[in-house]
Structures are given as structure tokens and as C-alpha cells.
Symmetry: D2
């Protein structure tokens, strides 16, 4: 995955092709990858009607899934398969129908076996909807 970069249209298309093949759930949600570099991932997700909860707001599971995808991509940028161990999310403001959320994962710490990431989730107006923190275990298996 390390060859994925913030790049012109051709590369962006390659990233989406990769996502479609490699992360069916994120593709199904409609996640749009915007930038990937070592220890970092930013993506966008338009909120669709089927993503709402019982109060007519964005379902917390969708917010989490988008953040989890960015976390997973960011921690897999270093060439070794990494899996989430422990994750927390705090909901600050409810997402609304029609929102387009932006999710940004940054690396807080990278050690031999463990990486820690902060993920921010904002709406199209920059309002922070949630904060997510994930700890990943880095296996010895190389990413193909």
C-alpha cells in the first residue's frame, strides 16, 4: 500500500480500485480515499439515508466504520500487516442527513509491535463530530 499517494486523477482511481478490491465494506459504504502517506490517511464519506439511526442522525456505527477504515489504512502504510487491538470513540456532535464527513488519521506513536493513531471526524463545515483513538498490533507479515 506504500505506493498509494495523494496524486492526480489516475492515481486516485487506482486507490479507489484498490479499496473496492481490498476493503469491500468501506467501498460499500462509499468511502472516498483522499490521501494516503506513511502514517496518515484522509478520506471522505457522504452520508446517505441508509446510514441514519433511530433519531434520524448519522448512526454511530457509520462514523466509527469510516474512522476505523482511515485508522486501518494509516497503520498499514509501513509495509507490515497491522490489526486494530483497542479503539475508543467519543461522540461530540451528531452527524446529519446530507453531511459529507472528512476523516483524518494521524500517527501518534510507532514502535516495533505497536502503533497508536488519533482520528478526527468533521463535517463539511469543519465541525468536529467525533474523536477516535486506535491502538494497532503490527504483525511480522509483509503487506502484499
Amino acid at each position: 500500500m506504500s505506493s498509494l499517494t495523494n496524486a492526480p486523477d489516475q492515481a486516485s482511481q487506482a486507490v479507489q480500485n484498490w479499496l473496492n478490491k481490498r476493503d469491500p465494506f468501506s467501498a460499500w459504504l462509499g468511502v472516498i480515499i483522499e490521501e494516503i502517506r506513511p502514517g496518515y490517511c484522509r478520506l471522505r464519506l457522504p452520508v446517505r439515508p441508509e446510514m441514519l439511526n433511530g433519531f434520524g442522525m448519522l448512526h454511530g456505527g457509520v462514523t466509527f466504520a469510516a474512522a476505523d477504515t482511515a485508522f486501518s489504512i494509516a497503520c498499514n502504510t509501513h509495509g507490515r500487516q497491522s490489526v486494530g487491538l483497542s479503539v475508543t470513540i467519543d461522540y461530540l456532535e451528531p452527524g446529519q442527513p446530507g453531511d459529507v464527513i472528512t476523516v483524518e488519521a494521524t500517527e501518534e506513536s510507532l514502535k516495533h509491535r505497536v502503533g497508536v493513531y488519533q482520528v478526527g471526524i468533521r463535517n463539511q463545515n469543519g465541525l468536529r463530530l467525533a474523536i477516535f483513538k486506535g491502538t494497532a498490533y503490527r504483525t511480522s507479515i509483509e503487506n502484499s
Copy 2:
């Protein structure tokens, strides 16, 4: 929601109708409600191909969404609108294609403004896949 109970087919159908109307994302995922009573919810989710991640395993976002749904239903069984504040999830074993996961939310603590819930996620063999803990804020608004 307090009238929803673990009941025969007619009632179960009513619960699913309610879910379809009230929680579009959970219905979209294919969540099957098995039992709801005060402070408790148990549901099932069959893992479909579009729910996998880049490693061919169950996407953490799906596991989380199923758990979050059970948490949300359990904390809304007391007649007041309740929203998730802070949630943690630990992944113990990867879910597999074809699994049917069972999610069970139980109430750890219920106070005037705050409820705390533990949610266990197991596969069809009883293997625990993840543990989820959620803190909910209880508003003054009555559930309709």
C-alpha cells in the same frame, strides 16, 4: 420501545418493522433483533461478503456497528432518549466470512443522567470476537 419484548413471531416481526423504520443503518446491515427488555438487548448479524475488510476478515466497523446498535437499543429501553457518549472496543479474534455473530448488551450501571453498558460479541461457536463498553447520556426527552 419499552413494549418490545422477547416474544413469538408476531412480536418479532413488529420489532423488525420497528427497526426497519427506526434504525435504517442496522436494517441495511441485516441486524436481526432477538430480545429486548429493560437494560438489555440481544441481536444477530450474518456476515455477508460486503462486510469484509482488506484481509478478508469481518471489518471492525461492522462488529462495532452491530454492538453499537445493541448498546443503543438497551440504553433506550427506559423511556428516555439516550445517546452514546464514549465507547471502547477491543478486538479479540477476527470474524470470518460466513459467521453469524451474536451481540448481547447488558446494563452495568444506570443513574439519573448516565448509563454504562457492556456488550459481548460472539460467533456461532460461542467464540468471543470482541468486547465493547459504552457510556450513554440520558436526555430528558421521552422516547416516542
Copy 3:
């Protein structure tokens, strides 16, 4: 540490000696180890006046420290040095001056590199004060 057991006075004294030498902070707090076996630790802590917070209740940091000690002992019972990675605590009820709290750590999951533990904190009446969940990384270094 695997030789430490729930045992008569002589062994208990050995455990406390070990704690005094090996975990100065817990000894300083006044932690009393009650039982240690593989994947498990139970301890007691009498609440002293210097353990209160600004509201005259038990300081959350003390509750946490007692739980963290039980977690650390439990995850180090398998012969390999293990360190806490990520921990969460939920406060359910405030501890009071004069309370004697009991802390019990149990193993939820043990894999090659990672262990997950739940820790319950109760007062002398069995009232649950807090719940703690810890994820430990298991190094290759043998415990001496």
C-alpha cells in the same frame, strides 16, 4: 511470579514482601494482595485521607492505580514481561473516605502477543465503583 498463590500467612507475607520490593508505588498506596493465580489477581486497598480528591471522595487516580496494579500482576502471571498498552476506566459510583475497596482482575483473552483483562472495583458492601479494561503487550522477556 507464578509461585505466588492464595495461601496461608507465610505465603501472604511473601507476596507483600515481593510487592514492597517490586512495586513501590502499590506498596506506598497500601495495596494488600489477596490472591494471585494465572490470569487473575485480587487485592484490597483501604482508603486513607490522603487519597481523596477535591470533592472529598476517593481520587480517580487511586481507583485507577489499584486497578492498574491488579491488571499488571494478572498479565504478568504467565512468565513473560507484559506491559499495559491501552486502558479504559468508567467511574460508576464515588468511593468514600474509610472505604476498603476490592479489586479483581480476570483474563478475557490471552494470545501470543496480547492479553485483555477486565478489572472490577467494589467497595466493602459489594457496590461496584468502577470498571476497568486493559490491553497488555506481552514481550519475549521472561519474568525473573
Copy 4:
């Protein structure tokens, strides 16, 4: 507490007097308050020999307690009694004997009933030792 400010020696002394009286555990640990303003607290803690764990490193409970103190002060700066509900901490690097740690709590979100805070813990060289995130419930009781 809102009158406490980052101020010259006289005010600093007042803050320490307040801490001694109001937060016996933090005073006992030796916490030194450096700055308090609305939604913010920064403090220092010199690591003493009795603060070590079984591996000769800074006990996680001490790191947590220092962070919890900064969190508690920051969320109580708005004039209403606030209590911690749910907290997470990730340990990035072990603290060492002789370290002087700096803890900085900042407000991520402040709503009517809930505040969310991030707390960073660094050593004297700026190395980040841990990250802490806390959710507080804001009561209706005014701080005296």
C-alpha cells in the same frame, strides 16, 4: 476555581495552597500546578522512587493520576462541579526514575452536560509518554 490563573509567585502559591486543601492525593503525589485557565490545566510532577512499578519504571497509576488531576481541574474551570465518567489512557513510552513529567489538559468539546478533554503527558525532553482522553459529566452544582 475560576480565579486561579497563570500568575506570579504569590498566585502560584495560592494555587498550591488550594491544591493542598482541595486535592489531597495530588498534593501527596507532589503535583505542581503551572497554569489554569478556562478549559485548560498544565501541571508538573517529579518522579520519585516510590512512584515506580515492578520493572523500575514509572507506575502507570501515577501517570494516570497526574493526567486525571489535570483533567479534573480543567473540567472544573467553568464554575460547575464536574466529574469524570469515562477515561482512556494509552502508554507510549515508559517514564523513568528522575523524570519530571508535564501534563497538559485541553478542552476538545464543551456542551451543557458533557465535556471532553485530551491530556498529553511528556517528560522533560518533550517525549510523549502517554495520551489520555476523558469525558466529564457537568452537574448543576456550582463550584464553591
